[in-house]
Amino acid sequence: MKQQISSQQFFAILWAALMSPAAELLPAVTVPVAGRGAWIGILLAAPVMALLGAVLFRVSRKAQGGLAEVAMSALGSILGRAVILLYIVWGIFLLALRMRLCAQRLMDAGYQDSAMWFLVVIVAGMALWMSLGKLPAFGRTTQVFFGVLVIVAVLVVGLAAPQVRTENLLPLWKEDMMPAIRSALPSLGCLSYGVFAAFLVGNTCWEEGDGKRWLWWTALGCIALALMQLVVIGNFGPGLVEKLDKPFFDLAKSIGVKGAFQRVESVIAAVWTFSDLVILGLLLRAVSTGARTAFPKAGGRAVSAMALVPAAVCALALFPDGITPQSLSRGPMLWVGVMLGGGLPLLIAAIAEFRQKRK
């Protein structure tokens, strides 16, 4: 019997997973484009994400499955398999990249004398264990993780908000609008990790009113990310944000309550491991679902392990230093994400709609 999650769990998985790349990429990738107006980009990306999601839901319902099933039914078996394989390869590469970046973040937060391989192996092992269990259990786990992440994020942003300096955010005028619009593209690149959730659409129990809920979740999520960028830029200024490796986690360095706690960046970095586990679990499940759809004889649990092991090896072998994964993640991967996370699914959806109308 197909394992099912609820729509609330689906949204929680999506946004808990997105919090991992968002904390790393935003506003580091938007500030070089838009400066003080970098926080506007994500708000402009929100309608695009909402539209893409609505279109994918529509075609997925007709295909009675997720993105993999839509690809197979729209493109045929050969082209469909090729597209799914493309997503699988991209997913495995992103697995390697996220594991490496997670380990790097932990090392930067206080584990500088720990071995990289140790952190990668532990994170990989945890992700594999979580993805081998039942999907409803993963959904429930993610709901709890999402709650914790939201509370921590609200605390960080809330405590840093009083330290915002107006001159770091203003003035914004019409000359800043074009750069702000351009910053929507890297914001979309960050949000493109969410396309892997589309593989789980077929495993989700959709109810009346979920369309509206999708819009609300998208709006609130993007507003929250905009607010986070606003506070980061307001604290450091766009010039300093460009210099910092991880602006959001550096923000956590400067917050505290006198006499209670201070310098909680290591706590924040450790808690953000939850988001990394969710995104790794999502990637593994998407790869596994895609492989099962394209190659029905592939066993589910074996596929997860077969995807994770080369990903872990690549995380250590392909990225021996800390610069390569960061520059990949903030550069080419964003544009690949826009294409594979936005453009290609739209194209598949359009072909599926066209074929449906012809029938």
Binding site: D108, A109, G110, Y111, Q112, D113, S114, A115, W117, F118, L119, V121, G125, R165, T166, E167, N168, L170, P171, L172, W173, E175, N235, F236, G237, P238, G239, L240, E242, K243, L244, D245, D250, K253, S254, R263
Partner: protein, 367 residues
């Protein structure tokens, strides 16, 4: 069950010291640490750096027996090298995670401070939240002079005093770096060691940076002028404004707003409107309404003089350390693009129209 236990037992090998090491993070005991509070950086010989660190007052054991502060100095070609050398000189593991006070020597400030600030931005243990001061002379001498008690207590008092308006403007490494990235000038509070039997650190004003280098010092009234321009109520009192009277005023709130005055597309002047709220805390005998009004006008004149003196000094160094350009842009965003392009050239010549509005809020029965 057995199948599940096998990978679990195998994972225990990760914990052993096989090969190059187990990969586990290294645990440190707090009892073996020297928790540094203050770091001083000076220009070293041969163009290097001299770093001096201090723990502040320490205690030992359950009874918290007092121990003198630990003071260590080391020179190096770079900050990293000097910090590593310090590590080797101490019996304990030197931990920089509590360093929230940075003293920069005067000579180093003239040479440039961005290298130090970048180190603070990148290092794992240090943080951009550290308060920064420039000291007259060298930071090492300052820390040596206060070796018995340590300076961290005095600096903490200055930090708190700034928050409650009893001291000058405190600045953090993050604010400094942010100013340097966004504009080309910034400022830092300046300290000096005064020896009245016991060495004490006192604020003497502010140093102005153009780029990352020190270009000038604002002391006395000039320093007060900068505080007014930054909407910070100057610490200290105003007294003796009226002849034959000993009225003491304390400024509580200052709000300064900036408006550019354009003629067409050209900026002709900048209007600075400063609202000062003060309390009459002491008086020799009661004041009449006329005397109160005269006192208020005297305060306005005095504050206007301070502001003009500070602006003149800053224009002389061509250092807009108060982010005046950006503040003008906030109030007139339509001209921000123009301002951003031309402000650096204009700042040294632009005329200022300073208007001070003083209010004496509490008179405590003086009239």
């Amino acid at each position: 069950m057995k199948k599940r236990l096998i990978p679990l037992f195998m994972s225990l090998f990760l914990l052993t010291g096989c090969g190059d090491g187990s990969g586990l993070p290294f645990a440190r005991e707090m009892g073996d640490m020297a928790l540094l509070r203050t770091m001083g950086v000076d220009r070293g010989e041969d163009g290097g750096l001299l770093v001096t660190v201090s723990t502040g007052r320490r205690a030992r054991g359950l009874q918290q027996e007092a121990e003198p502060p630990l003071l260590i100095s080391a020179a190096g070609g770079s900050l990293s090298e000097a910090c590593l050398t310090i590590q080797g000189q101490s019996d304990n593991y030197v931990f920089y995670g509590y360093v929230d006070q940075l003293l920069l020597g005067e000579e180093l400030a003239k040479q440039g401070v961005e290298q130090i600030l970048n180190y603070y931005a990148r290092d794992l243990e240090l943080s951009l939240g550290a308060q920064v001061w420039v000291v007259r002379g060298t930071a090492r001498a300052t820390l040596d002079a206060n070796q018995e008690e340590g300076v961290e207590g005095q600096l903490s008092v200055l930090q708190t005093g700034s928050e409650i308006g009893a001291a000058g403007i405190a600045r953090t490494a993050g604010e400094l770096l942010s100013d340097l990235e966004e504009g080309s000038a910034t400022f830092l509070p300046m300290l000096q060691t005064v020896d009245d039997g016991e060495a004490a650190l006192v604020e003497t004003g502010y140093v102005v940076f153009r780029g990352e280098k020190l270009v000038g010092v604002l002391e006395g009234e000039l320093a007060k002028g900068v505080e007014l321009l930054m909407s910070h109520a100057p610490a200290g009192v105003i007294q003796g404004e009226l002849p034959a009277r000993q009225d003491i005023l304390q400024e509580r709130q200052v709000h300064t707003a900036y408006h550019p005055v354009f003629q067409g597309d050209e900026l002709v002047s900048v209007e600075i409107r400063c609202q000062v709220t003060a309390d009459l805390t002491e008086f020799s005998d009661k004041l009449s309404n006329e005397q109160l009004e005269l006192l208020r006008q005297k305060v306005e004149q005095r504050e206007e003089t301070r502001i003009r003196m500070a602006l003149t000094a800053l224009q002389g160094w061509d250092a807009d350390c108060i982010s005046l350009g950006r503040k003008l842009g906030i109030n007139d965003p339509a001209h921000w693009n123009w301002l951003e392009e031309h402000w650096e050239d204009l700042f040294a010549q632009i005329s200022f129209d300073v208007i001070v509005e003083a209010t004496i809020r509490c008179t405590y029965g003086a009239i």
